[in-house]
Amino acid sequence: MNFWYFLTALTLLSALMVVFAKNPIHSVLYLVFTFFCISGHYVLLNAQFLMAVNIIVYAGAIMVLFLFVIMMLDLRKNVPESKSNLTKLAGAVLGGTLLVVFIAATRHMNLGNGSGAIGAQTGMVESLGMILYKDYLLPFELVSVLFFVAMVGAVMLGKREAGERNF
């Protein structure tokens, strides 16, 4: 439990730093660190597979691409301060309201004692595979349609057309 508190504090801190960091590269690195902390939470929940996949997919692939793009853009120049004080105020009020609602919701929550059947195999690859391929077969297969659409779209939008300017 103590470790959980430590990890949670670290997660929140790094997540806040994502927002507050001045340099976008630092933001990305803090985000990567946040993903690590979340992977740590997965380990505490005995979900090793999710931990590994979280690191491989998010920290290892997606954030690298983020970093890639940000480095290419060179955001250190012209960062326009576009937000007016009104937007900031409205954002703060809205976010604060949401926060209050969630805090209230969690305060009323009765966690119980975890009545669900949680065994040593819960969260392991084998049990996850059984769930994915038996209970959730249909969404699992149909997600491939989603990825396929995204892939076709990315190729279609990113393809260089004849006569277009080559960089």
């Binding site: 340099n23 590269i25 690195l29 990567v32 090793q48 597979f49 931990m51 590994a52 996949v53 690191i55 491989i56 920290a59 290892g60 692939a61 690298v64 691409l65 970093l67 890639f68 480095m71 290419m72 392991m124 690859v125």
Partner: protein, 391 residues
């Protein structure tokens, strides 16, 4: 309590040992590299420091420490310092799940796996850590505040991401054969049966070729060493690095080589398995058999390190577009084919009640099918190309 503390001490010693061995192997790989290079180019190579120059790595280390530690102006200082360390860290972390040997009997009924930790997700751990290794290069290159470094870093990132996909797909074929992600189980399934004939290499020839090519790319070794291509980018991502920080980058490359050699041995060459394993175990007992197994794994891994060096001094470097073409239009489709064909090679023997060797026949026939397919495809596309040229 007694059992756990003995086990804990043994585990700690083991981990320290693996750490030392990995670093030692990496250090002597630099020496080995020069010897191999000299041999291939018909030169003498290092021969001054000690007999046959075997103290060369020590001399190099002293040189590295003594050099001026330079941090470029306008660079992100913290990131600049932290990231070579991260490179080193990720390189070392990978060896945690590689099973270096079978169980060791510590007496008193305590048995210890010669493996850092046998996690349920074994091979995914390797994969996750490897995918993090790219940050060391990417951020280090960016923090240098140098165009060439940045270009090298970006090349490294795109290269690593591209080749990770094919690598993952080739691992999937292995997982289909063994039915587990745990590296220990992967080795154990290769131990059953007729000696080295049950190693995965026999049923996964295509997968192994893809994996070794991707391993080259992930380690940024020639012919995939574009990130540090000196003709185009001076020193690539480590242009601005000097002293031991540069040393860390170079060192992590050699560690990566050794570890990926060990992983390849684990996945495709039976890990710590060796012929007549059972005979040795019956004759000399469990501990000796296990230690011979460690030797076998080391031998296999070092052989792969040699292959890395051999290729480095044999093949020229790819061009960047060739590299991307090979990764995306070559390796990924082939590895997808490999996944499908592996499924076939598992399915055919079970459905038709054929003996186990039938699956090996099917998997090798996959190479034939692949070659025919490639020839047909090549014929079709090259015709199109000539038409396009005629326009």
């Amino acid at each position: 309590m007694e059992i756990t503390s003995t086990l804990f001490a043994a585990k700690a010693i083991y981990i320290g040992l693996i750490f030392a061995i990995t670093l030692g192997v990496a250090a002597y790989s630099t020496y080995g590299e020069r010897i191999v290079a000299a041999w291939m180019q018909d030169r003498v190579g290092p021969d001054r420091a000690g007999p046959f120059g075997i103290f060369q790595p020590l001399a190099d280390a002293v040189k590295m420490f003594m050099k001026e530690d330079f941090i470029p102006a306008n660079s992100s200082k913290w990131l600049f310092i932290a990231w070579p360390c991260l490179s080193m860290l990720t390189a070392l972390l990978t060896s945690a799940v590689v099973p270096f040997g079978d169980k060791l009997d510590l007496g008193g009924g305590i048995e210890m796996d010669l493996q850092g930790i046998d996690v349920n997700i074994g091979i995914l751990w390797v994969f996750g850590i490897v995918s993090l290794g790219v940050y060391g290069i990417l951020v280090g290159g960016w923090a240098s505040n140098n165009k060439y470094s940045l270009l090298g870093a970006i090349r490294a990132a795109s290269q690593n991401i591209s080749y990770e996909l094919a690598m993952g797909l080739s691992i999937i074929a292995i997982l289909m054969m063994t039915g587990s992600l745990s590296t220990k189980v992967i080795v154990e399934t290769q131990q059953n049966g007729a000696g080295f004939l049950s190693w995965n290499i026999w049923s996964q020839p295509i997968g192994f070729v893809i994996f070794i090519v991707c391993a080259f790319a992930e380690c940024n070794r020639t012919p995939f060493d574009l990130p540090e291509c000196e003709t185009e980018l001076i020193g690539g991502y480590h242009t601005e690095y000097s002293s031991m920080k540069l040393g860390f980058y170079l060192f992590s490359e050699y560690i990566n080589m050794f570890v990926s050699g060990a992983v390849m041995a684990t996945l495709y060459f039976g890990g710590y398995d060796y012929p007549f394993n059972e005979v040795v175990e019956a004759q000399f007992g469990q501990n000796i058999a296990a230690l011979v197994g460690v030797g076998a794994l080391m031998g296999k891994a070092l052989f792969f390190v040699f292959v890395f060096m051999w290729v480095r001094w044999t093949l020229p470097r790819f061009r960047y577009d060739q590299l991307m073409n090979l990764g995306w239009t070559g390796l990924i489709p082939i590895s997808m084919f490999n996944v499908v064909w592996t499924g076939l090679s598992i399915l055919i023997p079970t459905t038709f009640n054929l003996p186990a060797w039938a699956s090996i026949v099917v998997s090798w026939s996959g190479i034939g099918v692949l070659l025919i397919g490639l020839i047909i495809y090549h014929g079709a596309t090259s015709k199109k190309k000539t038409v396009a040229l005629a326009h």
